[in-house]
Each structure stands twice: as C-alpha cells, then as structure tokens.
Symmetry: C2
Subunit: 330 residues, 2 copies
C-alpha cells in the first residue's frame, strides 16, 4: 500500500513528527473505524511523545466504551482553551462530516486527512487518501509500520476494531488477503478476536432489539420472493427507544433471505420524507437505482430519500425495483 | 501444529498415499466444517490420483450446494456396489455421529479419523485428533502442507468454508493468529471472502426467518435484564416450516442484548421434553449448570434436556440461572 504514492506517506510521517500538540477528529455518529482510528492515532502520537486532544461531536456509543482512551474523546464544547498546532482527521470524507468540530479548527492550522472513502474531497493540507483500503485503520496500520511505531496492545486493539467494523466482521468483499494478514498480526500483538467481536458486533442495545423485532414482523416479500422490504414508521422508531445507529444492519435481514435479490428498508423521517436503504445480492445495481432518486452508494449497498406518503412511495419504489429485476441491471 | 505429534502426521500422510479407493464421511446434519472437510479430502485425494466416494446420511443444506463437488456426496443407500480400501472420517467425534453410514463400512477396512472435538473417542485405525484446532479444516490445511499438496481453488474454498463456520465467522474465541494466517493464505489461493460469507453465514432460509420472527417476539427478560430467554413451542416450529438447523444462532439473540449475562432458548420437542440451549457472557458457567441437568457443553455455550410442562420447566430453570448469577459461578 505504501508503495503507491510514497510522497504522501513521507509527508504523513513528517506531519506526525514535526508538531507538538495535535487535535484528532473523526466523523460524527462515529462507528468502529472512526473511533478505532481516532484512538490509534492517539496511541501513535503518544508513542512519539506528542500531546494529543481527541474530539467528536457525537457521544461514543456504549458498545465502544471498553476501548482504552475512549473517555478521552471530548465533545467540542470542551475544546475551548485547548491549543494545538496540527489536526489529524481520520475516516472523514469532507469537513462537513466533522459536524461543529470544524468550527473549532482555526483556518491556519495544518490538517492531515487520512481516509479511505472514494468521495474524500482532499480537504487537508496533506491528504493520505487510500481508496482501496478496507478501513482507515488499515491505512494507519501501514503508517505505523512505515514510521516504525511498535504495536502496543492498545494500538493493536484500536486498529483491529476499525478493521473488524469496516469489513463487516470479515464478511464484506473488501476482506482481502492483506486484511487477514493485518488481522493475524494484530492478534499476535495481543488482541482477543472473540472478545472484540462480541463487544463490537454481537452486542445489541435494547433499542436495536426493539427495532429488529418490529422490522422482522413487518418484513414482506414480492416479485416471487426476489424482493424483501421492511417499512418502519416514526412510531416504530419512537416506541423502540432506538437511536439512529440502531438501524444498522436491519436492511440486511431483508436481503439475506434465500431467493431475495433486493432488500429494502423504508424509514419515515421528518415531514413526509422517507429514507430508503437498498441492498442487493447479484442482479440489481442499487447505486444506479438510488442515484435516479438523488441518492447514491455502491452497486450492492445504496440509499436515497423520497418524499410522499407510504401509499405513494412504497408501490412506486417496489415497481422500480421489479423493473430492474426484469431488465437485469438498472 | 504438525510439530506436536509428528508420528501421526506421518501415518496420516501414508494412509492417504497407500490406498487406491477411499470413502470419505463426516457427521450427520453436516455443517460447513463437515462438508468443507469432506470436499477438502476429496480434492487432496484426487490430486494424489485416488478414487474417492463421498457420503453423508443427511442431505446437504441448500446454502452449501454452491461448493464444487457437493453433488458428489451420496446418501449411504447409494453405496451398495462401491468398493473401497480406506475410509477417511472428518469432523466425526465417534462412530455414532456418522449415523447409518457406519453400517456400510466393513470392520476390516482401515479408517483414518481426522477431528478436532475434545470428545473424540479415537475410533480410527489412525487418529489425527488435534483438539486445539479451531476446525477440522485447519488440521487438513496442515495435512495438505505437510504432504506438499497444492491449494487448488476448490481445495482452498472447501477449507475456508470449514474455517469460517467453526470460528463463527472469525468471531469465536478460537480465532487465533494461526486461523487468520490460514484465512489469508486461502484468500491468496483465490477464495472470495465476501461471497463465501454471504452464502454460508448471511443467508437465511424462510424457515429460519420465520423461527427468528417468533423467537424475537417471544424474547423475555428477568433478573434486571441479566437473563434473556425465548420459548419456542412445537406449534412455532411446525408453522415456521423450519428444519432443525434453522434454530442455529437464535439463542445468541437472547444473550447478545446489552446487560444480559445468560441467554436461554427453550424448545419443546416430543412428549414433554424441552431442549434448553444456554449461552453466557461472563459470569455463569453454563456447562456446569447444564451438567447438573444431565447435559453438557462449554462454559459459555451448553445445553440440556428437561422433562415437564412449560409451567414446571421455565420458572425452575430461570430460578437456577438467577441463583448462579447471584452466587457468581455455578
């Protein structure tokens, strides 16, 4: 990975060595890669003898709070009075994804942007954007190697958490031999694979359970079982006591049933807006489908927002999906 | 792994080279490790120029039928007229686990027993039993290396399927660095990690979905949310159109909810028998608990069978679990 654009790896390395006080930030509603990458940069910088302040606009979900150093991730309101001469943004595709944290960063402070999103708009002073990395944690693993930073148990744990999250627990198509070799190496540095998977992937909040119960009882099929969909009302969401993150993965249940090619999750939001998540197995390119409604994503996982009542939105969308199935790829 | 008992590795190697016609068998109700290991031995023996017959008492579940050679696994009724001078049993802890296949094996035919179950009773002529292997597929991977058998794409796919299954998709505590290194190596030999995980782990049958819907809607909590349990009636099972295998994993939903230490699945079977699956997170040793009811298992996953009505069995068992929670380990 380091061979491809060696200049930027050198610039990254210099950036992490030449300043004294760093602010590390990731995207709001942080997932395991955002949090793991934040904590990995902390471990690396502290090894280099630097002062580090960590921040995130959103609170850290309970299931990640076992990660050492998580309590050091401050809300931006606590940044007043902190000074820093460098910013490291990890897993952030553009500055808006930082939320209000962006407003706390003076325009003249140099920023190192380390990310793997193809949509990254290179908003940093130095931009280490590696689109074919499975996770930002995978890029940081290479940074640590390039810089000869030893893998302490907390660095290894933070990186493993990021890798595990963004490969869907080594189940997505981004699970390459390099990903597995990195995982093996991190386990050799003391990570307990079973414990991390248990905490990060297997654990369900009560809200998540309540949403899943409602979601599964509302799962319907059409097109001879080739399309499965779930509709969640605002009431479902409120009564579940669920958070935004609790929706993660529910759409997969619709797609995972044998015979289904396209799974959809419709979720009512404010006004008459309906958020639609789409997953497909083989036939339909859901990115193209979502794009035609102003959304986006990948061929197998995409999303868009529609406007209208359930009576309008649901049949219209299902008809479009059916048409795509009939015609092969959208 | 090969270093530990090198005699038996040599005997294994000789066994696989010195005969001409082999029967390969695994346990009934085969899972991914049973099927993957069966197909891996087939690939290895065919590379050595041997004739191979594969058998299993049970049909191969649809989700494994993408594996090349699966259609070659014959029911034992089709073994009449097949002759063989060696038997290879994979992932079989004792001869009863083969079901009726055992009756088709003449007593004078030498048998190679390759397995990782600690309960294996060494029923073979040669017994390659490696208890600390995560999967029988992991033992076969070493056999192939010791014997210098190249990893064809079908051998690699069969082994990866076994490894993936028995590590719970790299989530169980048996996910060691060696497991990850083996996975990396198999991916380098052409396995598509995303595709295999999708087919083997993510895919749900309609029966499994129906059982999960019923199971989740019946999930209850007690002991301040430290115990979660699901009761499935015979009617739930019949109306779901579910198979025995479709129960797999449902008990985990009870255990996975935040705050739960013990998850239970009660399932009514014939007469007034109730099968109980137990999973625990940290506190209760469910193996000891199950053992006190004549069952068994591991500290974190165990099972037993009780006799009685729901009114008798459910409160009695939950009280016992509560007592274990109060007293720490059972």
């Amino acid at each position: 990975m380091a061979g491809d654009h060696s200049d930027v790896w050198l610039q990254t390395s210099s950036f992490l060595r030449e300043k004294e006080r760093y602010l590390v930030v990731s995207h709001l509603h942080p997932d395991g890669d955002a949090i793991g990458s934040t904590l990995a940069v902390k471990a690396m910088l502290e090894h280099l003898g630097k002062e580090v302040v960590l921040t995130n606009e959103s609170p850290i979900p309970p299931k990640f709070q076992f990660l050492p150093g998580c309590d050091r991730i401050l809300p931006p309101t606590e940044l007043d009075g902190c000074s820093f001469d460098g910013v490291v943004a990890v897993d952030v595709a553009d500055r808006e994804r930082m939320g209000v944290v962006w407003e706390y960063i003076p325009a003249d402070i140099p920023l190192l942007n380390i990310d793997h999103h193809p949509t990254n708009d290179r908003f940093g002073t130095v931009n280490l954007v590696v689109e074919d990395a499975a996770a930002t944690a995978q890029i940081l693993y290479t940074v640590a190697k390039v810089m000869d930073i030893p893998f302490s148990s907390s660095l290894a744990l933070a990186l493993y958490t990021g890798l595990l999250t963004d490969t869907g627990g080594f189940r997505y198509s981004n699970t390459t031999p390099e990903v597995m070799e990195m995982a093996a190496s991190l386990l050799r540095h003391g990570v307990n694979a079973g414990e991390v998977a248990d905490r990060v992937i297997e654990t369900m909040s009560r809200g998540q359970l309540a949403l899943l119960q409602r979601g599964l009882s509302n799962l319907r099929f059409t097109a001879d079982g080739r399309v499965g969909w779930i509709w969640l009302t605002r009431l479902d969401f409120q009564e579940s006591g669920a958070e935004e993150d609790d929706l993660d993965g529910i759409v997969n249940y619709a797609r995972n049933v044998i015979g289904v090619d396209v799974g959809l999750l419709f979720r009512e939001t404010e006004g008459d807006k309906v958020k639609v998540s789409l997953r497909s197995r083989e036939i339909v390119d859901v990115a193209e489908l979502a794009h035609s409604f102003g959304g986006g994503g990948h061929a197998r996982a995409a999303g868009c927002t529609l406007t209208g009542s359930r009576e309008e939105v649901e049949p219209m969308m299902l008809e479009r999906v059916n048409a795509c199935l009939e015609g092969g790829r959208e």
